[in-house]
């Protein structure tokens, strides 16, 4: 018997994976947002330098990217498993169920993590295709920073966010991210059992703060670029 497969196929075990992967993803988003703050700089040099530095990690970057992809995959697989288990557990629902309030954290957002999650999954695919596998140096997206020729990632980003439809798509998806993290941040602590009565409330409040910070932090980037770069129709 392989003990780990058994551990992680129990309802509790899956939630350890869910919580750990979710938390790792939150950590990634914090780092990602900090990196993206370079987009608020007046020209693209800062972003392009940052991107070039990341590229400079070589095999290290690939390892990070593969690790991230596996984490997301694990999160998605367990997400569908736990949701499916719960769907099976109540084949016939109630006439009009109502929360009893009090300590309950049952809201439209927390009950529908799978829906906000699926939106995020679709977003991730689009986002990665658009920027990670978008127009490359070979296609002429180059620029020089400090005399060195680098990939002009900034141009890729700006060309997307001068289009109102892309801005709307990104802003919309980030709202879903906010709802996912509003429940998710606190939930990860509870899933891992690393919570106690004294810290439960502060962590739940911190979850709201993190959800707002990450959602708005990301969401203002396309808006900022739209208003600063598409000015009067001549970018």
């Amino acid at each position: 018997m392989v003990p780990l497969t058994r551990l992680f196929s129990s309802t509790l075990g899956r939630k350890y994976l869910m919580g750990a992967s979710g938390m790792a993803l939150v950590l990634f988003l914090v780092v990602h947002l900090l990196g993206n703050l370079t987009l608020y700089a007046p020209n693209g040099d800062l972003l392009n330098t940052y991107a070039a530095r990341l590229q400079g990690l070589g095999i290290g970057l690939i390892a990070l990217e593969v690790g991230l992809a596996l984490t997301i995959l694990l999160h998605i697989i367990t997400a569908f498993q736990v949701t499916y288990t719960s769907k099976l557990a109540r084949p016939i629902g109630y006439d009009s169920p109502k929360t009893k309030g009090g300590p309950s954290k049952s809201t439209a957002g927390s009950r529908n993590m799978i829906l906000t999650g699926i939106v995020l999954g679709v977003f991730l695919v689009v986002h990665i295709l658009q920027f990670r596998f978008g127009p490359s140096m070979e296609e002429g997206y180059t620029t020089t920073v400090n005399g060195a020729m680098v990939h002009d990632l900034y141009r890729v980003v700006v060309e997307a966010f001068v289009q109102p439809l892309w801005v709307a798509f990104y802003v919309g998806c980030m709202v879903f991210l906010g709802f996912h993290l509003r429940h998710g941040y606190w939930s990860a602590f509870q899933s891992l059992g690393i919570i106690n009565p004294r810290w439960s409330k502060p962590i739940h409040t911190l979850g709201l703060l993190i959800a707002l910070l990450l959602a708005f932090g990301f969401l203002f980037i396309p808006i900022f670029i739209y208003f600063t770069q598409s000015g009067g129709g001549n970018p």
Binding site: M1, P3, R6, L7, S10, T11, L12, G13, R14, K15, Y16, Q81, V82, T83, T85, S86, K87, L88, A89, R90, P91, I92, G93, Y94, D95, S96, P97, K98, T99, K100, G101, G102, P103, S104, K105, S106, S110, R111, M113, H183, W186, S187, Q190, S191, L192, G193, I194, I195, N196, P197, S200
Partner: protein, 268 residues
Amino acid sequence: MSASNSKTMNVRLKIWRQEGPSAPGAFEEYSLSGILVDMSFLEMLDTLNEKLIHEGKRPVEFESDCREGICGTCSLMVQGQAHGPVRGATTCQLYMRSFQDGELITIEPWRAKAFPILRDLITDRRAFDRIQMAGGYTGAKTGPHADANAILIPKDIADRAMDAAACIGCGACVAACPNASASLFTSAKVTQFALLPQGHADRKRRVIRMVDQMDKEGFGSCSNLQECEAACPKKISIQNIAIMKQEYLKAAISADFRAGLGSADGGA
């Protein structure tokens, strides 16, 4: 007695009726007038049943025993809420004064695959018994009756164990949980023993076996919505679920688990 004793009200009831476990079932509506506002909810249903029996119809089947909130037998989903709208109370502790005159009251059985409906509002909750039997006891021989204070237990720990032990096994946590998870019940039983020295001997196998049984019964997966705590008549805290997660992880990564301690037929 208060002056409101003789005040009466009318109610309309929308009740789930189902002939047997595999019969389809449907809602039926009833009206009752002259219900005393200080009547208990179950007395109101008794009144309905007397009326139905008089009319030669089959009474509505529901469960109750102690009718004072200690046995966990009563189990009704009232107005979409487990045990009705009052927090920290069982259905038998619910009174008609919690409802409006003329209100339409919907009454349903607990809904979970692991709690199949036997008839009308009665469900088979033996899944809980099986979880309890899987490890919710201490198997260590305790010898002759020990002195009351032979084993010293700090007061705060004794209190927390007692809070967990307050669970009456009613199943409201499962009924109220949007995922039909039995985590609150199971964790209350796990924690009650895990906190006390008497429970330490079988600590690891207990949590593994009880969680295994819980999963086998077909309950859902906990999403940390805390609706169970809101619905629990004994206000059992989801902190117990966090403790169960710690206990389970500790037991699962121990060598005993790999040696097969978790399986139903034993091991060390």
